[in-house]
């Protein structure tokens, strides 16, 4: 009976193409607007590394001064970056499965080809564990190992794009790149990798692009690498050398750890470390060390702003308005089908059968509206990408969104069709005979 009803629905839609077009258009516009908003919200709010988001933790230590907390509005919060000296020591202690200390920097690349001008490229200065921790995909080679970290070897991992620019996209592992007058050996080239949000560094922007290359954290001291990211400080310190900067209380290093064990065990390790530092006169505030898993870290930094939620609500209200228009059109359409309905009733169709037939018809209209709405969503997302110059990964139309759009279109249409369908199934079967 379902197939029969679908066939009848298609015939009915063809019978009045203008009204069908209006109904499909009303649903499509509602779906297009709401799905565009939902897609962006979903991408912003999604789990960027679901396979291990509960095993990766951002680390915070309350190294702030005794007089006032790091955040006056949220005094319970510790600074969300670490002083370099603490990050360096924690990385050296290597408690936990893997750890990544990191910050953003930039270097001047001197191309081998004399005709090309030197250019600046951003780098993530980090430990070798970064790649395995965050499941970074490689097309050539690999990251560097802990011995390279320990020896501060000038290694570099390039993104696909930078490798394309420097080496024409060929396998460049083992080749050399000169940056800031230092020769770096290429350890690997990563494939396209755009985790959305950029969970490992929401501090410098959850929706920024991945840096163009990665170099060992231990080179910071050797090459006196400056951070181009955010830094915070509370203590008036005399800093006249790079070593003094590295040994200062300024917080500018992000620190992640991958744990197989319980987080409490790692917190105990942090407390023990801070306890030792307190004996040296540092960490003046009460013990306040924390670890946050990936989704907690996204929430902590409010990667998805409240404005986005309001916008999402408004877009669904717009969908409701579109559906109300559809209800009006459906009522008009179904009233036009009174004589056929009455005939079908006379020939043995019960009210339930007529009701089902109308509901299937609105579901088919909803399906058509959903498909057209997906097309509009696709245009909407391309528009957003163009307007905001967002990274390509942020605004993609995936299967979850597509099936959600179709499901919402069908369900909403069926709900919108309930009243018109109920009205039409009240048509008495005798109307046809009385009309004689």
């Amino acid at each position: 009976m379902f197939t029969y009803n679908v066939k009848l629905a298609i015939k009915s839609m063809r019978r009045n193409p203008m009204m069908t077009t209006l109904m499909v258009a009303a649903i499509a516009v509602g779906i297009g607007i709401s799905m565009t908003t939902l897609s962006v919200y979903y991408m912003m709010n999604g789990n960027p590394i679901p396979e291990k988001s509960d095993k990766l933790f951002a680390v915070t230590l309350d190294s702030w001064g005794a007089i006032r907390p790091f955040d006056d509005d949220r005094p319970e919060r510790a600074p969300h970056q670490l002083p370099y000296q603490d990050a360096e020591r924690l990385a050296g202690l290597a408690v936990g499965k893997r750890q990544a200390a990191m910050f953003e920097s930039s270097l001047i690349i001197e191309p081998a080809n004399d005709e090309e001008m030197p250019f600046e490229a951003t780098a993530r200065v980090t430990t070798g564990d970064f790649f395995a921790m965050f499941n970074v995909p490689f097309i050539y080679g690999d990251g560097w190992d802990r011995s390279a970290d320990a020896a501060a070897e000038p290694m570099v991992v390039l993104t696909r794009q930078l490798n394309e620019r420097l080496f024409g996209g060929e396998d460049s592992v083992g080749k050399w790149v000169t940056m800031n007058s230092t020769r770096f050996q290429v350890a690997g080239v990563i494939d396209t990798w755009e985790p959305t949000p950029r969970f490992y560094d929401p501090i410098n922007g959850g929706f920024q692009e991945v840096n163009e290359m990665f170099i060992p954290f231990s080179l910071t001291r050797v090459l006196e690498l400056d951070s181009i990211g955010s830094d915070w400080g509370w203590k008036a310190e005399e800093i006249t050398s790079f070593d003094q900067w590295l040994n200062s209380e300024a917080s500018w290093i992000q620190y992640f750890v991958e744990l197989d064990a319980d987080r409490d065990e790692y917190l105990a390790h942090l407390d023990a470390y801070v306890g030792e530092q307190k004996k040296l006169g540092r960490f003046e505030r009460p013990m306040n060390n924390n670890v946050y898993d990936v989704m907690e870290w996204m929430e902590y930094h409010e990667v998805v702003a409240n404005d986005s939620r309001v916008l999402l609500g408004l877009s669904f209200l717009f969908l409701v308005v579109c559906l109300l228009s559809t209800i009006t059109l459906l009522l008009t359409k179904f009233i036009g089908k009174k004589s056929e309905t009455s005939l079908r009733r006379a020939l043995g169709a019960s009210r339930t059968i007529i009701f089902r037939q109308q509901i299937v018809e609105v579901a088919v209209i909803g399906f058509a509206g959903g498909l057209t709405g997906l097309l509009l969503t696709s245009f909407g997302l391309q528009g957003i990408q163009y307007l905001y110059e967002s990274p390509p990964g942020l605004v993609r139309l995936d299967w979850v969104i597509m099936s959600t759009a179709i499901a919402i279109a069908i369900i909403c249409s069926m709900v919108a069709g309930l009243y018109p369908a109920w009205r039409v199934c009240q048509v008495p079967p005798a109307t046809q005979l009385k009309a004689q």
Partner: protein, 236 residues
Amino acid sequence: MLQMTDIQKIYRTELVETHALRDMSLAVTEGEFVAVTGPSGSGKTTFLNIAGLLESFEHGTFMLDGKDVSHLSDDDRSIYRNEKIGFIFQSFNLIPDLNLFENVDVPLRYRRLPASDRKQRIHNALETVGLASRMNHLPAQLSGGQQQRVAIARALAGEPRMLLADEPTGNLDSTMAGQVMELLEDIHASGTTIVMVTHDPILAERADRNIHLIDGQVSGHSVACAREEILQAAQA
């Protein structure tokens, strides 16, 4: 086959009550061909609606094929109507965007018969009315007489116990009307009970029995003469 006793039907509006049937009693036996006649407003259509389980009534008893159908629910009336009764309407009432096969298929769909069974029944019914070769045509591609024959095929496909015809030749010219009447007589000859509402006394005379309604009541019965006599009278 059909037994109505003291049936009363009243149509009510805010201002007025209309007594369409007033304690009407009549019976139609199995295999009969009955014509119901009467002036406009006499209650013919109301009688047909009630006989076809299309409308309920206020008072009385209605037995159809041995079952009391006076108090059936709306859904049960639909099922019983689909199984027991075939309708033929004055204006054919074919669905314009369904072809002949699909139009005849409509009542069978609601009986949930297997596809092969439905196909066989539709083919047989269209064969009976002489339109099997045109089953893929749309109603608009047929003449009025052919359309009424499709409507008869639709009524026959369900193998009903009783055919209810409301002015079946009212929209046809005399030639086509004659063909349709001959078809109904053939169907009756094969044993189907037919109740036909008509204004036309000549058509009514071709039935086994005439029931005359006035003011919602049976005013008289008459048994038809031999068919040959009627045909001669018509030709004269």
